[in-house]
Every structure is written in C-alpha cells, then in structure tokens.
C-alpha cells in the first residue's frame, strides 16, 4: 500500500526558502508569482491494512514537526 504524506509549513510561519524561490522566479522574468511555499513529499510503502491512525502516529512522532508544520496523508 502506497501512502503519500505532504508536509508543509503552517500558515503564518515565514518560509525563507519559498521566499527565495519566489525571488528567483521573478529574476527569471516570470511575473505575478505572489507567493511560494516550499514543503516536502514523503512516500511510504506500508503493509496492507496499515491504519490511517498508525500513519497519523508516524507523522506526529517523526515525519512532521507539528510545532511549525502541517501534514496531509493520502493513500494512493
């Protein structure tokens, strides 16, 4: 079973890397890019029957730092 976890900085937490990417896009001549947020995608291959609860636990304990990050779980 494949699972995809998206980890993004919480709204309101300044994202210096996203900001740098936005600047670089502007320098390349792409206009109108108002905001860039950079995050992580983590793909897991887990045993069939792994519950969403268990995946949530993985996110809370390790994959995301919930002080600054949100996560979204997608079973593929």
């Amino acid at each position: 079973m494949k699972v995809r976890v998206d980890v993004m900085l919480k709204t309101g937490v300044l994202d210096p890397q996203g900001e740098a990417v936005r600047h670089a896009l502007g320098n390349l001549g792409f206009e109108g890019v108002e905001k860039v947020r950079q995050g992580k995608v983590i793909e897991l291959d887990v045993a069939e029957g792994t519950s969403e609860e268990q995946i949530k636990d993985m996110c809370e304990k390790l994959l995301a730092n919930t002080v600054i990050e949100n996560y979204a779980i997608q079973v593929l």
């Binding site: 937490v13 210096p16 890397q17 740098a20 390790l62 730092n65 002080v67 600054i68």
Partner: protein, 222 residues
Amino acid sequence: MKAGVIVFPGSNCDRDLAVAFERAGAQVQMIWHKETELPTDLDIVGVPGGFSFGDYLRCGAIAAQSPITRSLIKHTERGGYAIGICNGFQVLTETGILPGALMRNANLKFICKPVGLKVETTECDFLSGYAQGQEITVPVAHHDGNYNVTDEKLAQLRDEGRIAFTYTDNPNGSTGDIAGVISKNRRVLGMMPHPERCVDALHGGTDGVAMFRSLVDTVVAA
C-alpha cells in the same frame, strides 16, 4: 560532578564540549547513541553540536528518536541537568524537552562568526556566573538557527523568564532575537551559539567559561 556527552553519528562538537566540562572540573564520559540507558549517576548530560544523522528529514529529528534520547527525556523529567548546543538544541526542541523549533536561517546562509549575546536571566544554574543584561561574545555556526515560537509561547517564555540569551544583532531571523531558552524547571538549557568554543584564550575569547564553571560549582556545592 559527573557529566555525560551523547555522541550521535555526525556529532562534531562532542569533544569540545567534553573539554569545556573537564576544564570546569567535571568528570566526563562519552555516551554513544546506541546505548539505551544513561549512567544513573550523571549530574548533567550534554547534547553536542554537529550534524546528527546528516540533518536528514529535519535537523535533530532522527537523533530525537534515538534510544539514548528516551533515557535523556527521563533524566530531565527526574530534574537532571542538560544542555543542548546548536544541533543539541535542535534535538531538545524535537523531543519537546524545550519549546519551539529551529528553522532555516532567514537569509538562507550558513552563518559562522562570533555574535553578541545579552544575558536575559541569571536565575538558572548555567547562567548564575553572568550578570543580568551582561553582553558576551560567543561564536555561532549554523544553517538552521532561526528560532520559531508562536506569539503566545513567546509571551509565556517572557513571563516565566525562560529566555536565556538574545542576540544583540539578530543574525538568523529568530523570533524575539532568541538565542537560547531554558526549561520550566530551569535545569535544561538549549542555545544555538557555542559556549564550548570560547573557553580558552586561544579560541579568541573565554566568555563561555562562566557557564560551565557556575554549573559545576552549583552541583559540587549541593
């Protein structure tokens, strides 16, 4: 006075920290991260700087799940002393022993230079050798030292006098210019600057000496 320094794969300030403890009069032992229990007679545990586990996932995140770290959490819950410096501070925030999180520096650069720090509280056994408001110079060397806490938590840290140091000229974008914080029981200190890198005149400064000495003196006197 017995000190232990935890060594993770990728730690690189462990021996400097051991020297700083030894010079202050402590007996030091190095503890490999695969040990499952800390020696029970340790007065203080140091979590050193470096790049534990290659900074994979997030700085300090994998080290925070290491077997020895579970024993460190218990040590702090029992009221034991601990200090986390640089990557060690990142590990302590990842475990939840200290609040907040350390993010990429606001200017995205690795910053390696001496910085000015203001001592914000002396009500802590690590800090009692300084004067309130004293300015000291301590080197920083980090890419992810941008301390982040919510406004609510920042207000709480201020109310409880748990900000140890602030930068006199914020190098990395840290909330409230925070360079170091202490735990609720005031026995755990986490900081991004490296006090162990300024304990000898040959280091270019000795402003870190007071921190190790005051802690050792307190424990020996107790």
